[in-house]
């Protein structure tokens, strides 16, 4: 089996399907997680798959440049910023409502 696998060198399609899968899993997490921190983690997952995607395209479509990689760096930076702000909000939120369960954060409805 391994031999068989070894003959199937990963082309762009494989990479892209992988990133799509990771992104889908991230989406699933965003939509189901009840803990706000968990939601944030799922977001990181999705962001990460996005960054990976950039690099994949960089590698296969424009190997002469590094623009994709630079984009990934930006993604990572933005992700970092997002986590910081998100965590700060969660801390405040937790302090006020004693919970970070997003399913109970439905006051927007009223």
């Amino acid at each position: 089996m391994i031999e068989q696998l070894a003959t199937m060198a990963p082309g762009p399609l494989h990479w892209l399907v992988l990133t799509a899968l990771l992104f889908a899993i991230g989406t699933y997490g965003i939509l189901t997680r009840r803990n706000a921190v968990g939601v944030l983690m799922a977001v990181e997952l999705a962001l990460n798959s996005g960054a990976l995607n950039f690099v994949v395209f960089n590698r296969y479509v424009a190997p002469a440049g590094v623009d994709g990689q630079i984009m990934s760096i930006f993604v990572i930076a933005v992700a970092a910023a997002e986590v910081v702000v998100g965590m700060a909000i969660f801390v405040v939120l937790f302090r006020h409502r004693q919970t970070v369960d997003v399913t109970r954060m439905n006051r927007i409805r009223d």
Binding site: I30, L31, V102, N106, R109
Partner: protein
């Protein structure tokens, strides 16, 4: 007009303006200040119109001989223009019958106004009473002088409305309110026919006016009774159900007349209308308004004569009503109701007199107008006399009166004159006119109608004598009757004047100018055979009444009533016509039409609206449950939707 008109005819508008301005003045300005002044001003105004009407009549009579009694419109102005050839002019039409009616209306009206000053003295709403009375006089004069169908209809409705107001004068009495409503609604129903008749005549008149050319207006009587126009109208042929258009239109118009003149089966409102003050009954429900129907037929008589069939309808319904009402009158105990049925019966007389008239035998036309003329005086007199009695006894019931002969000599004498007049005894007015009506029926070959007329003459004499004997002869049957005393002078003056008129009116040579066609209607002498027969019937009726009621006791009357048994009850209950109406209107119309419609509206139509609203709401709720306020749920929809959209777009490519 090539003839020089006198002052009155040149200023004919005054005949309408005087009572109208007086109505406004009294109703809006004077009444709130002083009720008494309102009454006096109103009365003066009506006397002024009476004087003016006499002046007009005098001028017309002097003019008439020269012009051949030509019909003309001395004054009019355009009031309402529907479209070209369809304008309505308010104006004054002068011809023999309108002059006749003008005299009758203003005379009776002014006497009734005078009488009311005494009769209504001290009543609450004295000023209101005179306001309405003035309004009525104005409308009636407008009706009489109408130069076209529309003005006729307008005033027709206005007399109806003022009659409504006056019947319901004692508006805190439920019976008066009910009676006023009934009168208005029943006549309104009849007016529906009138309105439809106007629509039909208006439409075809408009077409004919177009063919004839010129600037003539479709609604004008002068236009409609023009021989050329009548010929064209008659030639239109079948309308619906094979009935010729003209006949149909005239029958519908007659329906209006029958309502106002209380012909069977639209008569039910008139007896109830006696809830109004007695002078009102005398003026409106005996002498003037109720003859409007007769007047309408007479006004359109050339058309009716052209159609022929419509005239037969008029004749038979009139004859039937005359008999029907006379029979009922024999069994009623309320003096005003007896008089009301008597009025019905006499109106039937006038109607069938018109019905038997034709182009070949136009005597009925004259006879009808003659009877209208004399009847107005003696019937008004009867009502005012009855009012005087009621005023004294405080009851309408004839069995609560009795022996008033000595206590109220003037009232008694005048009432006796009126009774003899209506019974058709020479030399009182009724004799002449009744004789002429019967002669017309016989002369035109309507023997059946003649027979009915003769029979009714006898019955009339019977029931009138009945109330006369019951009220004035024998001994006082109640406290009220024994303490009765004569009415004040202001009430007696009209009685005396009307009594004099009831005696002399018959000698008035009305046939000289009220006639239809040339030559035929020449005044005729008394036909001895018919006169004898009529007088015999009258004397027989009086004698019978004397035999039964002359003693003043009720024993013989009760025995007689028992002898007739069920038939007596049926007649006494007025053949149950009222009950039938009540059943139809309340049970059927309200319960099976109005109530279901109201329900249908709320339940089905509105229910449909509410259902759609509910549907919308449910849909909203269904969507609303998606609004959880949870970002993740929104996210699911957003992401799913976005992906689906991409897929759809992709699929489309």
């Amino acid at each position: 007009m090539e003839y020089e008109l006198g002052f009155a005819l040149r200023n004919a508008w005054l005949i309408l303006a005087i009572p109208f301005l007086s109505f406004l003045l009294v109703g809006l300005l004077v009444r709130p200040l002083s009720e008494k002044a309102a009454g006096i001003i109103a009365t003066l105004a009506v006397f002024a119109s009476a004087a003016f009407a006499y002046a007009m009549a005098a001028e017309f009579l002097t003019l008439g001989a020269a012009t051949g009694w030509k019909t003309f419109v001395p004054w009019s102005f355009e009031w309402l223009r529907f479209q070209e050839r369809m304008a309505v002019h308010i104006g004054v039409l002068v011809d023999p019958i309108s002059i006749l009616l003008l005299v009758v209306v203003t005379t009776v009206s002014s006497l009734v106004h005078l009488y009311s000053l005494g009769y209504m003295h001290g009543e609450a709403g004295f000023g209101r009473y005179f306001t309405f009375l003035n309004l009525f006089t104005f409308s009636m004069l407008g009706l009489v002088t109408a130069p076209n169908l529309l003005q006729m209809f307008v005033c027709w409705e206005l007399v109806g409305a003022s009659s409504f107001c006056l019947i319901g004068f004692y508006f805190d009495r439920p019976s008066a309110v009910a009676a006023s409503k009934k009168a208005f609604i029943v006549t309104r129903f009849a007016d529906l026919g009138f309105l439809l008749g106007i629509l039909i005549l208006g439409y075809f008149g408009y077409q004919v006016a177009g063919e004839v050319g010129g600037t003539r207006q479709a609604f004008d009587f002068l236009f409609l009774t023009d021989p050329v126009v009548m010929g064209k109208l008659n030639a239109i042929g079948a309308g619906i159900l094979g009935i010729p258009v003209l006949t149909l239109a005239l029958c519908l118009v007659y329906m209006g007349g029958a309502g106002k003149s209380a012909m069977f089966p639209l008569h039910v409102w008139l007896p109830d209308a006696m809830e109004g003050p007695t002078p009102v009954s005398a003026l409106i429900h005996a002498a003037t308004m109720v003859v409007a129907g007769v007047y309408l037929v007479a006004r359109l008589f050339p058309l009716f004569a052209t159609s022929g069939d419509a005239l037969l309808v008029v004749g038979y319904i009139g004859a039937f009503t005359a008999l029907f009402a006379a029979v009922i009158a024999c069994t009623q105990d309320d003096i005003k109701r007896v008089l009301a049925y008597s009025t019905l019966s006499q109106l039937g007389y006038m109607m069938f007199a018109l019905g038997v008239a034709s182009v070949e035998h136009p005597l009925g036309y004259t006879a009808s107008m003659f009877h209208l003329f004399t009847h107005a005086f003696f019937k008004a007199l009867l009502f005012l006399g009855a009012g005087s009695v009621i005023h004294a006894v405080h009851s309408n019931e004839i069995w609560r009166m009795g022996g008033l002969r000595r206590k109220m000599p003037v009232t008694h004498l005048t009432f006796a004159i009126a009774t003899l007049a209506i019974a058709g005894i020479w030399p009182f007015a009724g004799f002449f006119s009744k004789d002429e009506v019967l002669a017309a029926a016989l002369g035109s070959g309507h023997y059946g109608i003649f027979g009915i007329g003769l029979l009714v003459a006898g019955i009339t004499a019977f029931y009138m004598s009945r109330i006369y004997f019951a009220a004035f002869w024998g001994g006082a049957r109640t406290e009220g009757a024994s303490h009765a005393h004569e009415s004040p002078v202001i009430m007696l003056i009209p009685l005396v004047v009307l009594a004099v008129l009831s005696v002399v009116a018959g000698f008035f040579p009305i046939g000289e100018f009220v006639r239809f066609g040339a030559g035929h209607g020449a005044p005729h002498g008394i036909n001895p055979a018919i006169a004898a027969a009529g007088t015999f019937a009258g004397v027989l009726g009086i004698g019978l009444a004397w035999a039964i009621y002359g003693s003043g006791g009720t024993a013989r009357a009760e025995a007689l009533a028992r002898a007739f048994g069920g038939a007596y009850t049926v007649v006494r209950r007025k053949f149950y016509v009222d009950e039938l109406y009540l059943f139809v209107t309340h049970k059927i119309i309200v319960r099976f039409v109005a109530a279901p419609i109201a329900w249908f509206d709320r339940a089905i139509v509105d229910g449909g609206v509410n259902l759609s609203a509910k549907g919308g709401r449910l849909f909203g709720f269904a969507l609303g449950s998606l609004q959880t306020g949870q970002v993740q749920a929104y996210g699911s929809w957003f992401a799913g939707g976005a992906v689906l959209l991409v897929l759809v777009l992709w699929g489309l490519q």
